[in-house]
């Protein structure tokens, strides 16, 4: 890339470290983040945040870190994650976030590909992964562990608790005042800031190089969209995923939002209920889950409760229809809706922990239109944002304009173009610099300054973007018909009993589908219907459950043309976890991996 990009300036700063130093001093003892410790929320101010980040920066400088050296963080979300992230930025390091669910071979790739010098690990568990591959990673000089629990008495020349680094840093900082400020002031928007290894569905993950201007551009979008201000945010998606990084690391610096760390990935629903954040960003899977929870709770409610809910939903739906049509709902309908909200919907919002939410957003994966409409009916309009690691968020639906199914207009500073193949091309101020060590892949993706997204979509006359599917996922059946599987998959996922689905049928006579059931709801269904089962596998093999899913598939099929209908399906009868390769870290089924691994099951649908 020779072309120079116009600068994005936020509050007079052109890099994140500059802005962080400025803003954290301004905000002083205002609360920056909260984390639960033994069940009690502990607060950390912006001063604390800066102090810890500076300790880490100074510590790394004391150990000889040079500008552009790579540090890596492998941890669940926690305050130390952000301290190390920001600290790395302050001393000119490039920060590489590694998914805590990665297994040793993937960790090894991410560390050696990035030439990592310093490594930050969450705890004993992550440390064991590192120790397993230690001898293949001669470039890693020092390893710091956030949580030393279980490691008392453990001695290793390269491994230390994070506290040691804080100490080293404090001493170094006193002896070298002004050094960090000097490094920060010399920072350039074109400096490589972070590496994000994208969850490669095929082959090893690729390291996307994101410069400082990428971060600044995302902050400017946050300012423009005005979705997040001094809000309470729940941090629960992996911070190495760029969506959570934008939301929990960068936006708070620009906008002064307060972040709250979820206790663990398993307790998100409870944390949400407890905190009731004012801004909620979630991936479609989470929104689907909430919807299922409400549906299940309602099916068990008293007769009166059910009737009241049906009425409130009907009112909400009528109002949603009006809003979508661009009309004002009218006095009577608005009055009915207020009543429904006061009597019924507010309780549902409380149940989900969305009662204080003034703004909601979805992204990182396609979401079903029907689901968005349901939320709108509940009085919870969800904005849909679109983007990818390589570009950041580049479009979003706007306040008070309900264009369900589209992902909105391009934000200022981003251009969207559809090429002859229907592929979405993006050019924006914040786009990535390329893939680390992969000039060929970079050249494929970044052509003449445009990022080839790999998504197929359309732009309407107002400039709203609609995503059809991933280009490589589009199915061409043996009959030569083009089918976009995600449309069907999203409809299937809308069923409370289906957690994820992969439609198959490329070069085949008809479409088939692999389905992952929603354990909680299907178990509940089996229990209420008195269908005996023992474990997950036996549940998936019960004829009654197969019938239930068949019913859901049939229902969804009615909305599709003959060639687009799913003729057969199979259930994946293994309960998958984030550690399994079948799932991406955000718990989506990986199409190519799944079609390979369950090849036999798929063949069976075409032979029998």
């Amino acid at each position: 890339m020779t072309e120079s990009h116009p600068l994005t300036i936020v509050d007079g700063c052109d890099t994140l470290p500059k802005l962080f130093l400025k803003k954290s001093v301004e905000r002083g003892d205002k609360i920056a983040m909260r984390e639960k410790d033994f069940g009690i929320w502990q607060s950390f101010s912006w001063d604390d945040y800066r102090q810890y980040a500076l300790d880490i920066a100074h510590g790394l400088l004391a150990l000889g870190l040079q500008r552009g050296d790579v540090i890596s963080i492998q941890s669940e979300d926690c305050k130390e994650w952000l301290f190390a992230d920001m600290g790395g930025g302050l001393c000119g390091a490039v920060v590489n976030g590694i998914y805590p669910t990665y297994q040793p071979p993937q960790v090894q790739h991410a560390l050696s590909d990035s030439n990592c010098r310093f490594l930050f690990l969450e705890d004993e568990e992550q440390l064991d992964k590192y120790l397993e591959i230690e001898d293949q990673l001669p470039r890693v000089e020092q390893v710091f562990v956030f949580d030393w629990k279980g490691l008392r008495g453990f001695e290793h020349a390269r491994v230390q608790p994070i506290e040691k680094l804080y100490e080293t840093g404090r001493a170094y900082g006193e002896a070298h005042p002004g050094q960090v400020e000097d490094i920060v002031s010399r920072g350039d928007p074109e400096d490589l800031a972070i590496l994000v290894y994208t969850s490669g569905t095929t082959g090893m993950p690729k390291g996307a190089m994101l410069p400082q201007r990428y971060i600044m551009f995302q902050m400017s979008i946050a300012e423009y969209l005005e979705q997040v201000g001094e809000d309470e945010i729940l941090t629960y998606l992996p911070l190495c995923h760029v969506a959570e990084r934008i939301l929990s690391a960068w936006i708070p610096v620009a906008m002064g939002s307060t972040i709250n760390f979820a206790e663990s990935p398993e307790t998100v629903a409870r944390d949400l209920q407890e905190l009731s954040p004012t801004f909620v960003f979630a991936v479609p899977r989470v929104w689907e889950k909430f919807y299922s929870r409400v549906t299940t709770a309602m099916s068990e409610a008293t007769w009166i409760g059910r009737k009241a809910f049906q009425w409130a939903t009907a009112v909400g739906m009528r109002r949603a229809d009006a809003l979508i049509a661009g009309k004002s709902p009218g006095g009577l309908l608005e009055f009915q809706f207020r009543l429904a909200d006061a009597l019924v919907l507010s309780n549902i919002k409380k149940l989900l922990g969305l009662d204080r939410a003034r703004s909601l957003a979805s992204g990182a994966a396609p979401i079903s239109e029907a689901l968005l409409k349901w939320y709108l009916a509940m009085g919870l309009p969800i904005k849909e944002a679109y983007g990818q690691t390589e570009t950041g968020v580049i479009s979003s639906t706007l306040e008070d304009r309900y264009r369900l199914g589209t992902v909105g207009e391009a934000v200022p500073g981003a251009d969207i173009r559809i090429d002859d193949n229907g592929e979405i091309l993006i050019r924006c101020l914040g786009q990535f610099q390329g893939y680390l060590n992969l000039p060929d892949k970079t050249a494929e993706t970044l052509v003449d300054g445009w990022v080839h997204t790999g998504d197929v979509g359309e732009l309407d006359e107002e400039g709203n973007l609609t995503i059809t599917d991933r280009l490589k996922d589009i199915i061409i059946t043996a009959g030569g018909k083009n089918v976009t599987p995600s449309l069907m998959e999203n409809e299937l996922k809308f069923s409370p009993y289906i957690s994820d689905a992969v439609v198959i049928g490329d070069q085949r006579k008809y479409l088939t589908c692999l389905i992952m059931i929603d354990q909680e709801n299907v178990e509940h269904y089996a229990q209420t219907q008195a269908i005996p089962f023992t474990d997950y596998r036996s549940l998936c093999n019960r004829p009654e459950i197969l019938e239930l899913i068949q019913g859901e598939v049939d229902r969804v099929n009615t909305g599709f043309s003959q060639v687009e209908k799913v003729k057969k399906f199979r259930l994946i009868d293994v309960l998958l976890t984030a550690e399994d390769e079948e799932l991406t870290p955000t718990m989506k089924l990986k199409r190519s991996f799944v079609s390979q691994k369950y090849g036999e099951l798929i063949e069976h649908m075409y032979t029998s």
Binding site: D123, E124, D128, E132, Q527, P532, F533, T534, L575
Partner: protein, 257 residues
């Protein structure tokens, strides 16, 4: 063998407002030894108590030889041919060994049969014979466990349900008692449902097993398969991969597969 000896379907049992078992199903075929594994508080004992009628389930069925027996009185259930050997022995401490055994035959009136079975019990547990007149409270833990099993046997059940027979016993005694349980199964044709924490011995003698966790079933399969499963090895057999440091403290996520 058209129908299972015991079948439980979608059982839900509550202690007041607390759901102790949330939808459990299991099956024991005639002549089988079946193990239910689970940590403390998983609901194993509740499951047995529900089967024998000591607790009533709020939902689901218990079928004994195809007949619904849930929510009936325990003495009625016992008369149908189910004997429950409770956790912690629960022998009558102030009655003698012989009286304890006679209590087991409380529902029976065939004098000859009772006498014959009494001799069978003393044959299986020869240590009990010389202690016939001794108060049960003075017996050692192992002897009390034998007495409890013997008492269960005295009702001449079709199905014997044992709740943690290895509890508090020395490894040598555990082996001895499990040998006898196996013999009772083979020689007397007793169908046995065994609840255990000692996964190793229990899976050695049983054909199939279930794993319970927080009130639900998480795994079921042949004992051989369970013994080889990674999660069973780590969480029940204590054989964990010690990792590179040789001392791993963190726990893997259970996946039960």
């Amino acid at each position: 063998m058209s129908q299972p000896m015991l079948e439980m379907r979608n059982i839900e049992t509550f202690y007041g407002p607390i759901m102790a078992i949330r939808g459990v199903s299991l099956k024991v075929d005639e002549g089988e030894i079946v193990t239910v594994l689970g940590a403390n508080g998983a609901g194993k004992t509740t499951l047995l108590k529900t089967a024998c009628g000591a607790l009533d389930s709020r939902k689901g069925q218990v079928l004994f030889q195809g007949r619904e027996i849930q929510c009936r009185d325990p003495d009625w259930v016992a008369r149908q041919g189910i004997a429950h050997v409770p956790e912690g022995r629960e022998v009558f401490p102030f009655l003698s060994v012989a009286e304890n055994l006679a209590m087991g035959a409380y529902n029976r009136h065939d004098r000859d049969g009772i006498e014959q079975d009494l001799q069978t019990v003393y044959d299986y547990f020869p240590v009990l014979r010389p202690m016939r007149e001794k108060m049960a409270g003075y017996l050692s833990g192992g002897q009390q466990q034998m007495l409890a099993i013997g008492r269960g046997f005295m009702s001449r059940p079709r199905l014997l349900m044992l709740d943690e027979p290895s509890l508090g016993l020395s490894p040598a005694l555990v082996t001895e008692i499990f040998d006898i349980i196996t013999r009772l199964n083979r020689e007397q044709g007793l169908t046995i449902l065994l609840v255990e924490q000692n996964a190793n011995v229990a899976l050695q003698i049983s054909a199939r097993g279930y794993v319970m966790e927080v009130g639900g079933m998480v795994m079921d399969g042949t004992s051989q398969w369970l013994l080889e499963s990674e999660d069973i090895k780590e969480f029940y057999l204590g054989k964990k991969d010690e990792g590179v440091r040789g001392r791993r403290r963190w726990k893997k996520r259970k996946t039960w597969r």
